[in-house]
Symmetry: D2
Subunit: 121 residues, 4 copies
């Protein structure tokens, strides 16, 4: 599937999304509050795919479910990018920044093999 | 803030995340099912930020809330990338692919200014 | 609609739900973890109804949406009851107990007209 | 814990909740849209409890987690009741009504032991 990074795009994703919304007169619907709700609704469609499987089963999906999952991931990324761009945040840069924080919060030797929250250690 | 794309990274985000989890012995927790749940929990922390504001208010956040939002966006992107990589999906590529589908599903002249779902037109 | 309390039932809701699942061999799917996910998926279907409306608009729903909402509320209540009963909790009793805690956490004279969390006062 | 039905209350839960909000001037925050978001945020706190456990582990909770779960169930029931009452729906009555629909949608002999959605049979 499409694990390779996005092909070199003529424009950033956030700009393409803004133009898409503008061409459809959808900007008024796209308040940050509504985008957050839409993000949540799309994530639930991912949850639904894994709802009744157990952890091991969830590692293998039938082809049609894989396709559905890829589309839902696309939807989540779309709303995440739209919401983030309203506050001048790039999702991937935010992920790297959070990773740097997590390196400090969860020292490998201290948390090895445990799933507790950092404030429970 | 960090609207600029991520600085050229020495490795892909998904690889850095896999190494981070491996160093902490967290792979066993990271079934697709659990990653989907974690994604959902992080999105709810974004929802919480906008919970009581109305649409207009949601466009302006106090600096501490902006910082919190950027961190939550980072968390969402982290879990989305981890989940997606299990199925060889790149979130940004998936977003572009979904955009292409949406162009067909929602022709601009037909949906202008309406928020209905495509199957309600 | 059905604002009136449930008609006197021959059995408690949680018992009817347990029998329904047993007759269909669904108990193995109904781990607390899976029930929590199902609960979350159903709540997202409620979110979806209010996704693009603003606060004022959300107070009026077309009849078909009202019917859809009532069904989703039923679904949420079903999964909430099933999950709660695994831990000997009755949802309505838990709500009354939480109300008593909230009375102390949010003294009326202190929080009047404010939506902050209790630890932000 | 509190599996027993709520003790006979002097007033319905929905009325107690309405008075609680009114005494705090919170009605303006409590649009159906906002209540739906609050419901979703509380459900995510339940999800978080079961996030990293597997299905079997999720059946046993440490006492502090059990207490936390009971409180979150209370919160979910509170927001569900508030939202439902805006549309004259009683959650428990809605659950019984949905059960009746489910009896038809999922005939026991047809779905035994399967977790598919009804439209996949």
């Amino acid at each position: 599937m499409n694990l390779d990074p996005a092909p070199v795009a003529k424009k950033p994703l956030r700009q393409a999304l803004a133009e898409f919304a503008e061409e459809r007169g959808w900007q008024t619907f796209h308040t940050p509050k509504n985008l957050a709700m839409a993000l949540s609704v799309e994530v639930a469609e991912i949850l639904e795919i894994f709802q009744w499987s157990d952890g091991v089963e969830s590692q293998t999906l039938a082809p049609d479910k894989q396709q559905a999952l890829a589309e839902e991931i696309g939807d989540v990324m779309i709303y995440l990018t739209m919401l983030a761009s309203r506050f001048n945040v790039d999702p991937e840069a935010a992920a790297w920044a959070k990773m740097a924080l997590n390196e400090k919060k969860y020292p490998a030797h201290q948390v090895f093999g445990k799933s507790l929250k950092y404030n429970e250690y």
